[in-house]
């Protein structure tokens, strides 16, 4: 019974993109045997130790674990159905930061407020419906007041941090509601099916085009580790390359002095070269998340290039190099407000933008420059202006076009992917993992 559950759990992890081999499964079984099932949190940590290989997999693991080893099964016996009463108790639990009480309240709330449908086939539980009705966010002021009333001493410095702290607790409670709603649906529809659908992917597999706001924040956080990883890999590559290869011509010439015997081989060391990089980013709404992330990544790798210049456009081109800083909020937003990237309308227009670049900034591109064009090539049925792109490609060392859309969508509707792809190589680039691999290929040595 437990063996079946464990293998089903491992299967679900695999279905969600975690690489778990048979030997890990055996380890996990040993863990269950050693720890027993009495302590749920210990079991969670133990299984995580045996099955996980990195912290970025943890969110997927936790969500799946909650489905296969649920906190409780079935319905609660005496749930309260009064919204007002639930809110009162939730306020108390938030004030005390009582995790167990919050988890219990989440389950009660889902049962009382989250149910929808009235036939067995369409029945279900919805986390968003629960939260819409309960509205835990309105408790903030109440909890703060309660905390202040409890305190006998004069208010001190930490008081100004309390609001944020309570917001985090409320956010945690929202997560608990989501977990319990998924558990209830899983009981209705079968755990395996829900586990494959309802669990969010790991950060590096989030699709740029469909990323929500939370996920974009997470992606931004992934920039630094990813850039560091790329930079160390590059350092290793340089070290290996510095051994040099034999320079045949010079070795032969040297061998003349020893009667044709090549006693002293000559090596050819490639002169280290840092490429220049020019980024042309479509920052219109549809692909902004992708451009934003790529700009941050390139910016973080600045040391690897001798020069990085970033241009943004919707339908007009503007240099935005100075506006990008990894420390600040969304760069794309700043660019939209501070740079002249839009003309009279707000639709993206690749032809005009490329033409403008070719007119005004062509000297930014030279024989050492790699040009990256980021965008979905959806030009709203305007002239794609291929000559401008040809002009750029002729001057640059290499040009790559990264397209966040899957190739199956290229050329559908107003996409000018194929015409552009006939001039410069176009790569699909849908998530951080693919982007990392592409940037690595661009880097020197």
């Amino acid at each position: 019974m437990i063996a079946e559950r464990l293998t089903a759990f491992v299967q679900a992890l695999r279905a969600n993109g975690l690489r778990v081999g048979p030997s890990e499964t055996v380890d996990a079984a040993a863990v269950v045997e050693v720890l027993g099932l009495a302590h749920r949190e210990r079991l969670r940590e133990g299984l995580a130790a045996a099955l996980l290989r990195g912290e970025q997999q943890r969110a997927v693991f936790d969500a799946t674990f909650d489905l296969y080893f649920p906190l409780r099964v079935g319905a609660l016996e005496t749930p309260s159905t009064e919204v007002a009463e639930l809110r009162d108790r939730l306020a108390a639990a938030l004030t005390a930061n009582d995790q167990a009480a919050m988890a219990l309240l989440a389950a009660e709330a889902v049962q009382a407020l989250g149910r929808y449908g009235n036939s067995p086939a369409s029945d279900g539980y919805s986390a968003s419906q629960t939260l819409d009705r309960l509205r835990p966010q309105i408790l903030l002021a109440r909890v703060l007041a309660a905390l202040r009333a409890d305190r006998d001493s004069a208010p001190d410095f930490t008081e100004r941090l309390e609001a944020d702290e309570i917001r985090r607790r409320i956010q945690a409670f929202r997560g608990m509601v989501g977990t319990d709603a998924r558990r209830r649906i899983a009981e209705l529809r079968g755990t395996d099916r829900i586990a494959r659908r309802a669990v969010a992917p790991t950060v590096d597999q989030i699709d740029f085009l469909y990323a929500g706001r939370d996920q974009l924040t997470e992606l931004r956080r992934a920039v630094r580790p990813l850039s560091r990883k790329l930079a160390t890999r590059l350092a290793a590559r340089r070290r290996r390359a510095s051994h040099g290869e034999i320079d045949l011509r010079r070795t032969l010439r040297r061998s003349l002095s020893t009667g044709g015997v090549p006693l002293r081989p000559a090596y050819r060391h490639r002169r280290p070269q840092r490429p220049e990089l020019v980024l042309l980013c479509d920052i219109s709404g549809s692909v902004a998340g992708f451009a934003d992330f790529t700009m941050l990544l390139v910016q973080a790798l600045r040391a690897e290039f001798s020069r990085v210049r970033v241009f943004g456009f919707v339908n007009r081109m503007a240099e935005v190099t100075e506006l990008i800083s990894p420390a600040l909020g969304s760069s794309a937003q700043r660019i939209l407000t501070e740079a002249q990237v839009m003309g009279l309308h707000t639709n993206s227009d690749y032809g005009t933008a490329l033409g403008e670049f070719a007119d005004r900034w062509l000297d930014a591109v030279g024989p050492r420059t790699s040009v990256l064009i980021l965008g979905d090539a959806r030009t709203n049925r305007r002239d794609p202006n291929l000559p401008a792109l040809r002009l750029i490609a002729a001057r640059a060392r290499r040009v790559f076009w990264l397209n966040p859309e899957p190739p199956s969508l290229w050329d559908s509707g107003d996409s000018a992917a194929t015409p552009y792809a006939s001039v410069v190589p176009m790569h699909p680039c849908r998530n951080a993992r693919q982007l990392g691999a592409l940037i690595e290929r661009l880097l020197p040595v």
């Binding site: 949190e41 210990r42 130790a49 045996a50 996980l52 001190d156 941090l161 944020d164 990883k229 420390a327």
Partner: protein, 287 residues
């Protein structure tokens, strides 16, 4: 197969606490499993959360010898495993000039001329041992290959002598700051623990344990400010070590409550980048 230091998760928690290491559920559980299943424990996490301290604490409570291999770029077999004592070998050869070649050759590759380095030391001993392989991610990929043999079978092959197998399995802790991706093969041989910043309650206990003179209310305030800093987007978040440093600083300054002036004056203890300090000042609304 087990190293046999502990008999239950609770025992791990209490004994580590006696040695001054307050373990979370995750830490206690994985330490117990590593001990029980005889597998190495790979500890990853930001700097200053107590990865190395964990190995030291385990060694202290188990009354075991701590063997430490500090990895760095360029660490090699000779530094990690063993070396031949060439000087002594030369002396041996010169000392016995008139003996036959066969004797001389066999002699100079014997135990006597072997210089064991941390990995071999940890495997050969018969007393309880904790092997700490620190900052594994700093070492080159070749060293990982070396570790594979050591960590999966707890044996080392010396071409001239044969295979040395551990009589008694050491308790192995590998630490990594994840600056480089460790190989799949190495990860598969280990139990994985991501050691993160502790939750507020645990951190408060740590601060009070390490800085005994600190007032309880002030300790709570310290932890909540550090928590707020960690929630910000900073280049480097304050670690536990820095929380403790800050608490000590406040104690030394004789501050009994936090106010704008004190926090502003001491923020440099927590944050190590000027732009982080600027950002924190703004976000905390320091007057």
């Amino acid at each position: 197969m087990t190293t046999g230091f502990f008999t239950s998760v609770d025992e791990v928690t209490t004994r580590l606490a006696e040695a001054g290491y307050l373990a979370s559920t995750a830490v206690a559980t994985t330490v117990f499993l590593a001990d029980r299943l005889g597998k190495p424990l790979l500890v990853e996490g930001p700097a200053g959360v107590g990865k190395t301290e964990l190995a030291k604490a385990v060694a202290a409570v188990a009354d075991a010898r701590l063997v430490r291999l500090q990895c760095y770029e360029g660490v090699d077999e000779a530094r990690a495993l063993y070396e031949w004592n060439h000087a002594k070998q030369l002396l041996r050869i010169t000392a016995g000039r008139d003996e036959t070649w066969d004797r001389a050759r066999t002699d100079i590759f014997s135990e006597e001329f072997l210089l064991p380095r941390p990995l071999l030391t940890a495997i050969r001993g018969s007393e309880p041992t904790v092997l700490l392989i620190d900052e594994t991610d700093k070492a080159d990929v070749e060293v990982e290959g070396l570790l594979l043999e050591v960590l999966s079978d707890f044996q080392v092959t010396i071409p001239e002598l044969g295979t040395v197998t551990a009589e008694r399995r050491p308790f192995v802790v590998l630490t990594s700051n994840a600056t480089r991706e460790l190989s799949e093969a190495l990860r598969r041989r280990c139990l994985f623990l991501h050691l993160d910043f502790p939750d507020a309650e645990l951190e408060e206990r740590i601060v009070r344990l390490r800085v005994p003179g600190l007032d309880a209310a002030l300790a709570a305030s310290v932890v909540s400010v550090v928590g707020a800093l960690r929630a910000m987007e900073l280049r480097k978040h304050p670690s536990v070590a820095e929380t403790v440093d800050w608490a000590r600083t406040l104690l030394a300054l004789g501050a009994d409550t936090l106010d704008d002036a004190v926090v502003r004056a001491t923020l440099g203890v927590l944050l190590k980048h000027q732009e982080d300090i600027g950002r924190a000042t703004e976000k905390l609304a320091l007057a």
